[in-house]
Amino acid sequence: MDDIAIRFTNVSKIYKLYSSSRRRLLGLFFKRIPHKEKKAVLHMDLTIHRGESVAILGRNGAGKSTLLKMITGVTFPTEGEIEVNGIVSALLELTSGFDQEFTGRENIYLKGRILGLPDEEIAKLEPEIVEFAELEEYIDQPVRTYSSGMKARLGFSICVNIHPEILIVDEALSVGDRAFRDKCIQKIESIMQGDITMLFVTHATETARAFCKRGVVMKSGRIVFDGSIDDAIAYYNKKY
């Protein structure tokens, strides 16, 4: 029981699509307003143990993003239960999710608090985050003045330096210039030495092989394959 990091029990996510904003409003009051349903994830069972590194493979629209969003707690399942043990840090959309008026430093606290860290803890991590992001004097400027590369660096730095227990990496590891990208990959490799659980979402099967031991292939909201990374890649390449 204790070594489970993430557990999905019969999880479904169905998006309601209305043809207009008016219908969506009425849909709040009446269940019978006509709408289409998009089944993004269907009756999914998945258990990921602590310390595992899992690659999620699948084509666009297979439900990968929905899966990740549910793990991070941004979106809610329509049915079923998701259990998450530990601090989740997601390397998705690194440039967004900042308060534009806050300085870089204040945004570190915003993110830290949302992840449930006490202020003293954030204060301890702060120098490391600031140094890794290479923002120097910009760290005390409002984030709206940042370039997209600076935002991405800050986002990445916060995510990897808060000592996450579960790390979610989207394929876009294209952060900043070449040197910084290498530094990021090194950092991920180094934190993977610890007791961290990692989810890696990608189309690039070779990167997945380098980072992960287990592979899960998704199609139309269902898991169609779950096994070792080599078998998963073979399955994925053969089918798609």
Binding site: R24, L25, E101
Partner: protein
């Protein structure tokens, strides 16, 4: 450990519990985000903070001109010049109208907190309200100064001003908690609300005295309006010199309205929480 379940299982009590807990855990962050909201509102202009005062001043001037000079109707009320009577009733309205428009849109405007991270969404209306209320506090201080400078020293009735301020804050924070989730789901709703703001303004006795209306039924109906209660309340402190407990019926109506509003707010939040991130 966190467990996320399909949201329909969350009961009403549980929803209220979550909202209260989020407000306690995130109290520091709420204050910071309120400051951020203020900065966002006033930084982009050269005069910055001055706009918080200039806009209301212009509005007050226009109404004073139209009523006192144009219509020649603005006589003294309860022994006070019309313009003073106007100011102490319209100052709370500035906060209300901000909450009716921007409060309704607060989740839409802060969507990054909903779609990019697991932030307690129920605190968005609260920090927006705190931000708008800060401007309200500044205007109230100015109002008191204006009264003193025109030789109208504060009376003992001013002691109840905090009571009406709390009522005002609670009511319109509750409003935003009700309206903002619905507006996040459908932009039609915020347009609907916007088109009624002017109607609410003219039907709430901000520019004219509800108590002096001849039509008894209309007078009673308007007194049920919480906006009338609140504006009248501020005037009780400044000009009418009436204690809030001297009008127990009005107080009761307002209390009922407040409870109903919060019931609706909890319903709306609970109903929309699970869909919000998918729609925004």
């Amino acid at each position: 450990m966190s467990v996320t379940t399909a949201n329909k299982k969350a009961g009403v009590g549980e929803t209220i519990g979550t909202i209260l807990r989020d407000h306690i855990v995130y109290r520091k962050q709420i204050v910071k985000l309120a400051v951020s909201d203020l900065r966002r509102t006033y930084r982009a202009s050269a005069l910055g903070w001055a706009w918080a005062v200039i806009k209301p001043l212009v509005t007050i001037f226009v109404y004073w001109f139209a009523f006192s000079i144009g219509l020649r109707k603005g006589g003294d009320i309860a022994g006070y010049p019309f313009v003073l009577w106007l100011i102490c009733g319209i100052v709370p309205w500035f906060y209300m109208s901000e909450m009716l428009t921007l409060g309704t849109e607060c989740i839409l405007r802060n969507r990054y907190l909903v779609t990019k991270m697991k932030y307690p969404v129920s605190t968005i209306p609260t920090f927006t309200s705190i931000s708008k209320f800060t401007v309200h506090l500044i205007l109230l201080v100015l109002t008191i100064l204006i009264f003193i400078l025109t030789g109208n020293m504060p009376t003992i009735y001013m002691l109840q001003l905090p009571f009406y301020m709390v009522c005002n804050f609670l009511f319109f924070t509750g409003w935003a908690l009700f309206a903002a989730p619905i507006a996040a789901i459908s932009t039609d709703f915020s347009n609907l609300v916007k088109s009624f703001v002017t109607a609410v303004f003219w039907l709430s006795g901000i520019l004219w005295e509800v108590d002096s209306m001849h039509h008894a039924l209309a007078r009673r109906l308007l007194m049920l309006n919480p906006v009338t209660f609140l504006c009248n309340g501020y005037r009780n402190c400044f000009v009418y010199k009436t204690w809030f407990f001297e009008q127990p019926k009005r107080l009761l109506y307002f209390a009922v309205a407040l409870v109903v509003l919060y019931a609706l707010a909890f319903w709306s939040y609970r109903r929309t929480r699970s869909e919000m991130a998918d729609v925004l």
